[in-house]
């Protein structure tokens, strides 16, 4: 699932500084599940902006709306009238949502209010960790289901770097596990360490020709 994190308030205030009337648009799917841009966060952000402006002796009118998925033209279409009423749109969706909205309403500035961070999963309630880098050439079958490309800080394919910390932690962050130590332990448990002993030649980093396109079979 796509994980995102709300931008710091300082940045958002700069983004909408010139505008008096703004639509705060949320998205009901990924960013709702990771508490970044759902209906609840839309309400909180709108309220914060009103409080901020009134603290500066100024005013702002905020419209609030949340569509199911902001990366679908038909769903974003529903906001047509509200967008018409405002000077700018503050979108709390991931990058895909912001750009769908920007494409549909080209006459109005569409501004991102969250930073899309990674594809990940919840480690526990309220904490999400990166799991997949969408590299277009999945390697998980050779590492017992642990992806070294994003979970190893250097994306190495043939084993850990020399910098692993005591206890199998990553060179750059003592809190994070070294992916290759995790891979070693899992493959050892499965008795498939031969997979780790195998030499893997350099990756094809152009498996997905950016910007990527996927054409499903013509149903």
């Amino acid at each position: 699932m796509i994980i995102a994190e709300r931008k710091p308030m300082e940045e958002i205030k700069q983004l909408i500084a010139p505008y008096k009337k703004v639509l705060v648009a949320g998205c009901g799917t990924c960013v709702t599940v990771c508490w970044a841009g759902g209906e609840k966060e839309v309400a909180i952000l709108a309220s914060q902006l009103k409080l901020a402006r009134s603290a500066e002796g100024d005013k702002i009118v905020t419209l609030e709306a949340t569509v199911d998925r902001q990366c679908e033209k038909e769903m974003v279409e529903e906001l047509k009238d509200k967008v018409a009423e405002v000077e700018a749109v503050l979108s709390l969706a991931c990058g895909a949502g912001v750009q769908t909205m920007a494409e549909l309403f080209e006459d109005k500035p569409v501004l991102p209010a969250v930073n899309t961070t990674f594809i990940g999963m919840p480690e526990k309630e309220g904490l999400w960790v990166e799991m997949c880098g969408a590299c277009g050439d999945c390697f998980l079958d050779r590492t017992g289901g642990i992806c070294p490309i994003v979970r190893c800080a250097k994306g190495l394919l043939n084993g850990p770097c020399g910098g692993t910390r005591k206890g199998g932690k990553c060179e750059i962050d003592p809190e994070k596990d070294c992916a290759w130590v995790l891979i070693y332990r899992r493959l050892e448990k499965q008795g498939r360490l031969d997979l780790m002993r195998e030499y893997y030649s350099p990756r094809n980093f152009r498996a997905v020709k950016r910007p990527g396109k996927v054409q499903a079979a013509k149903a």
């Binding site: 850990p160 020399g162 910390r165 206890g167 199998g168 050892e188 980093f205």
Partner: protein, 297 residues
């Protein structure tokens, strides 16, 4: 002209190498001083490549200087800063100017350096880099095209004998040995039994490879604690830290040299491995003192 490193590895029974760290700027006078000081005292001079991800004068530049001054350079190549095109080009350039020893490293991550927002490359990793050098040695580039004039490098790599857990590290070393390396310069080693365990492991995969134990003198208890925390792959054991703590104020450096020399002597006498690689970061001029204290001059 110094004897090629490849010959030294075959003939000499205790090989000693040191490091000539490039500076941050185009003025190479200090580097030349270190080269002049060390070139005749050691068998090879490693030149680090943007060590701990800190931008410095390029490694290849210092290697050429060493060649000019009659020393034997070991060209260190990391996979952090260049993709496979740039690395192959640099290897051709290095070989064409007489640099023929290469140390293949993965390289520290950008986060530990001073350009923390740079994009890290890691198009290759250290094992893939070794395979690449062999490919070039065979006269072809990575894409399989014939080279007009190939190269013939003496290939070396690194390892961390005191890694915890050790097994994943040994699997990678095994891959490096299978890829084919002539020498290994290890990360700093402070516990001899860790070194013994490592050399024993390497021996039963490949007898010919020469192992040079990494020696990083520690010049004070505070410095040791700092290195344990921030320098990747360094684990100064507690008993050494305590020993350093007792050293009277101001004698930290000489205490560090004394400990380093003691370790080198032990390695030499007990023939634990085939030599040492001395890394005295920032104090290259004090390396001769270590050599002398260890009876290697």
């Amino acid at each position: 002209m110094a004897t090629p490193f490849r010959e030294i590895l075959k003939t000499k029974d205790f090989v000693v190498t040191a490091e000539a760290g490039p500076g941050k700027g185009s003025n190479v006078s200090k580097a030349i001083e270190h080269i002049e000081l060390l070139k005749d005292k050691v068998d090879g001079l490693n030149v680090t490549d943007n060590q701990s991800s800190v931008m410095r004068y390029p490694s290849l530049g210092i290697c050429l200087l060493i060649k000019e001054h009659g020393g034997e350079p070991v060209f260190q190549v990391t996979c952090r800063d260049r993709n496979r095109l740039a690395i192959q080009a640099d290897l051709l350039f290095a070989y064409s100017r007489g640099v023929s020893n290469i140390l293949c490293l993965t390289g520290d991550s950008i986060d530990v350096g001073d350009h923390k927002e740079a994009k890290q490359v890691f198009d290759l990793d250290s094992v893939q880099l070794i395979h690449l050098v062999h490919t070039l040695n065979s006269g072809k580039d990575m894409a399989g095209n014939e080279l007009d004039g190939g190269i013939d490098f003496c290939i070396g790599t690194t390892a961390t004998p005191s890694a915890d857990p050790l097994e994943p590290q040994l699997i990678k070393v095994e891959k490096k040995l299978k890829a084919g390396v002539s020498f290994i310069q290890t990360q700093a080693v402070y516990e001899l039994d860790e070194l013994k365990r490592f050399t024993e492991f390497v021996r039963n995969t490949d007898e010919k490879v020469k192992i040079l134990a990494g020696v990083v003198p520690v010049i004070g208890a505070k410095m040791a604690a700092y290195m344990n925390e921030n320098v990747p792959g360094i684990f100064v054991p507690q008993h050494l830290i305590d020993e350093l703590a007792q050293a009277p104020k101001g004698t930290g450096v000489s205490k560090g040299i004394e400990i380093a020399a003691r370790v080198i002597k032990q390695i030499k006498e007990e023939k634990v491995c085939d030599g040492v690689h001395i890394m005295f970061i920032g104090r290259e001029e004090r390396v001769p003192e270590i050599l002398e204290a260890a009876g290697l001059l």
